[in-house]
């Protein structure tokens, strides 16, 4: 699937999505939905690869916030175009000090990318059908902002 990280197209994605407890791989870098992760935490942390979690607006983030350092990547799900909970989830994760890759999944829309970046996302995963390199322009359409953002929380009037 097309993937942008730090505003650049990336071809190989090291993360393998696992959605089913029956087929937990014994190794590899795995992306696991939060509920599944919590259920099989011991088995997952025992395997050799890295573990990333996927969260959405229905999840209680507390267990993630308690062990932020253990995840090199957190994926935030956007289940529908108009579901904006992921923007707040990103803010909360960055505010808590998460420095790893924060990835928007579930088909983020081109016209949301600028907002997503300012909320703290730095990676975006799209379906083949919708993605085009035109998406890269989305980040710079609006170049000045009143509010602070994840990388600089100061509102415009505090920035020199």
């Amino acid at each position: 699937m097309p993937l942008l990280i730090d505003r650049k197209p990336v071809t190989d994605d090291r993360w393998q999505l696992v959605e089913d407890a029956e087929s937990l791989p014994a190794s590899g870098d795995l992306l696991v939905p939060l509920a599944l992760y919590l259920e099989h935490k011991d088995a997952l942390t025992a395997q050799s690869g890295d573990i990333a979690v996927r969260v959405n607006g229905d999840d209680d983030l507390t267990p993630v916030l308690e062990s932020l350092d253990s995840f090199p990547m957190i994926a935030v799900e956007f289940p529908a175009f108009r579901d904006g909970r992921g923007f707040s989830l990103a803010r909360i994760l960055r505010r808590a000090g998460f420095n790893g890759e924060l990835r928007a999944v579930g088909n983020p829309a081109r016209d949301q990318l600028g907002y997503m970046e300012r909320c703290g996302f730095n990676a975006y995963e799209f379906s083949e059908e919708v993605y085009s390199d035109d998406f890269l322009k989305a980040f710079e359409e609006i170049s000045v902002h009143y509010q602070g953002s994840a990388d600089d929380p100061r509102p415009i009037y505090l920035q020199s």
């Binding site: 108009r82 904006g84 923007f87 707040s88 505010r95 016209d111 902002h145 009143y146 009037y157």
Partner: protein, 552 residues
């Protein structure tokens, strides 16, 4: 008023180009209907019954003469020569072409205007008292705070895809002229026990299908905490508000479901995280913004005018207008003028290109180049010298904007209804006309006193029918328009929701029904009692009896 700097201008200019590209991609088939819907709504563009409708923001209702002229130009060039003021103090154009909207936005940007967040599930235009800064009953001018909120909420990255739309009103006076209690957030400038001025915060008010009066979430927050507190409320709402049913997605439903205490606890917990963050407003920033709303250089000699009294004594029509359509100004010798957009036989809130230019000229000549739009769909010239009132009145009268009916029955709030709106179930404009024809006698209207009559063409309540002393809601029954009437609502500091009178009445019977309501009022009222007070005292029953008894 606030004047754009380079940053403000750049944001608006870039937003125009962004929307131009979004429109291009949509027309080229690269952007889905659903995605374009969301991005066009966030730029005020609806697809209506006949054509697209573009809603242009008038932040907290404040507008300059050049901006009014630009709106006149847009009405003429891109529309059918008129616009319509809304209860959010914005103006909407009913006939633009989709492909011309980017050009309209570019023209608006030339005069520091835009259509950003005039629709969509985001933070909408913040509204306030139309007499802000000039009314004697005010604690503090709310407009700098509206501007601070405008900047914070404009293109806010986190709150552009909320569960539903979000409306904020700010008042600076104990008299509420902004319907603040039926807003998602109502902010009241108040003094605490220590004598400091800050904000009382209400949350969870709203109209629509489930009308609710806002509840106090905090009796007082300090001014510097305004944005962090707002952000805490919005974040809790964004995460917890319902998204499965758009009719249950407003914050009022969340607050009702959680209970105000539990909701407050969530907000306080979130606030603790951000209360000391960069969201804390600095004194310098507050002063910077306040600097744009300093009092004008009023003429100290204005109070010595004697010509006004002479004109009032000699010209009956002028006196009647003066008594109805003006508001006291805190500076002696000045008066605030309400420009009535409620002429007898035109839709409430409509204004022609020529009228826009006339108001622009009057503002420039007599009112420091500024006007305000009101949530009752009128305009205000807030700073007119008493000696100039006669000239202003004559010009307004010449252009059909001096009907002396402010705060009377015919100063109706009316949504465009089925004639224009894709959501409406019933027509409103024909009913407003019927009422205007039936209540043409000014002396009778004045005897009835202050009555807020609000009408909506559907349950979404754009015409604020729940908070009218008399509310009229158009409903569709088997293809026919019927009208449900409520009485006893108020949008003021004594805010209340109207109670249903009884079964809906047929379109032809609306004015006749109002007559019976008003006859009942006249029969049972005490001296000095407004219509709404009488309803509160005696209840709905006597009104109901009168209206429905005759029908059987």
């Amino acid at each position: 008023m606030y004047i754009y700097n380079e940053v403000d201008q750049k944001i608006v200019d870039e937003r125009v180009e962004q929307f131009r590209d979004q429109t291009r991609r949509f027309l080229a088939g690269e952007l889905s209907d659903d995605e374009f819907l969301a991005v066009r709504l966030m730029n005020g563009l609806y697809i209506q019954r006949h054509a697209p409708m573009l809603r242009v923001a008038i932040p907290y209702g404040l507008i300059s003469s050049p901006q009014l002229r630009k709106l006149g130009h847009i009405a003429r060039k891109y529309d059918k020569g008129y616009g319509h003021f809304t209860t959010r103090t914005n103006i909407q154009f009913n006939w633009p072409k989709l492909e011309e909207v980017p050009d309209i936005l570019a023209e608006l940007a030339e005069v520091q205007m835009h259509a950003i967040q005039t629709s969509g599930n985001c933070i909408r235009n913040t509204t306030t008292d139309q007499f802000a800064g000039v009314t004697p009953d005010e604690l503090e001018d709310p407009r700098p705070w509206c501007e601070i909120i405008r900047q914070w909420s404009t293109l806010h990255p986190e709150f552009a895809y909320l569960p539903r739309k979000f409306k904020i009103a700010v008042t600076g006076s104990p008299k509420d002229r902004a319907a603040s209690q039926v807003h998602d957030i109502g902010l009241h400038l108040v003094k605490n026990d220590a004598g400091e001025v800050g904000f009382e915060v209400l949350v969870g008010g709203g109209l629509g299908r489930t009308p609710v009066i806002g509840k106090q979430i905090r009796p007082f927050i300090e001014k510097k905490d305004l944005l962090s507190y707002l952000e805490a409320i919005l974040r809790v709402y964004n995460l917890k508000g319902r998204r499965d049913n758009k009719y249950k997605a407003r914050i009022k439903i969340l607050v009702e479901a959680m209970g105000i205490d539990a909701f407050r606890d969530e907000v306080e917990a979130e606030w603790a995280n951000i209360r000391s963050s960069e969201l804390v407003l600095t004194d310098a920033e507050i002063e910077r913004v306040k600097g744009f709303f300093q009092p004008f250089e009023y003429d100290a000699d204005a109070a010595n005018d004697t010509s006004l009294q002479q004109k009032l004594d000699s010209d009956e029509a002028f006196r009647v207008w003066y008594e109805r359509n003006t508001h006291n100004h805190k500076v002696p010798g000045y008066t605030a003028v309400v420009v009535s957009l409620k002429p007898q036989l035109e839709p409430a809130g409509d204004i022609t290109d020529l009228q826009l230019e006339v108001v622009a000229d009057l503002a420039e000549q007599y009112s420091f180049g500024q006007a305000r739009s009101t949530h009752e769909q009128n305009l205000v010239l807030a700073d007119v010298k008493n000696a100039d009132l006669y000239a202003v009145w004559q010009k307004l009268a010449e252009h059909n904007m001096a009907r002396p009916n402010i705060n009377t029955l015919t100063d109706m709030i009316v949504c465009p209804g089925f004639d224009f709106c894709g959501l409406a179930n019933a027509k409103t404009l024909n009913i407003a006309e019927q009422i205007n024809r039936a209540f043409d006698d000014l002396d009778y209207l004045y005897d009835l006193g202050e009555i807020r009559l609000n009408m909506s063409g559907c349950i979404n309540a754009c015409g604020h029918h729940h908070i009218g002393a008399i509310g009229i809601l158009g409903v569709d029954k088997k293809g026919e328009d019927w009208y449900q009437i409520t009485i006893g609502g108020s949008d003021r500091e004594d805010a209340s929701l109207g109670k249903v009178l009884g079964k809906a009445v047929a379109a032809d019977d609306v004015a006749e029904t109002l007559k019976k309501l008003l006859e009942t009022y006249v029969e049972v009222r005490t001296e000095e009692e407004r219509f709404v007070d009488t309803v509160r005292r005696v209840g709905v029953a006597p009104f109901k009896e009168k209206v429905y008894a005759a029908a059987h």
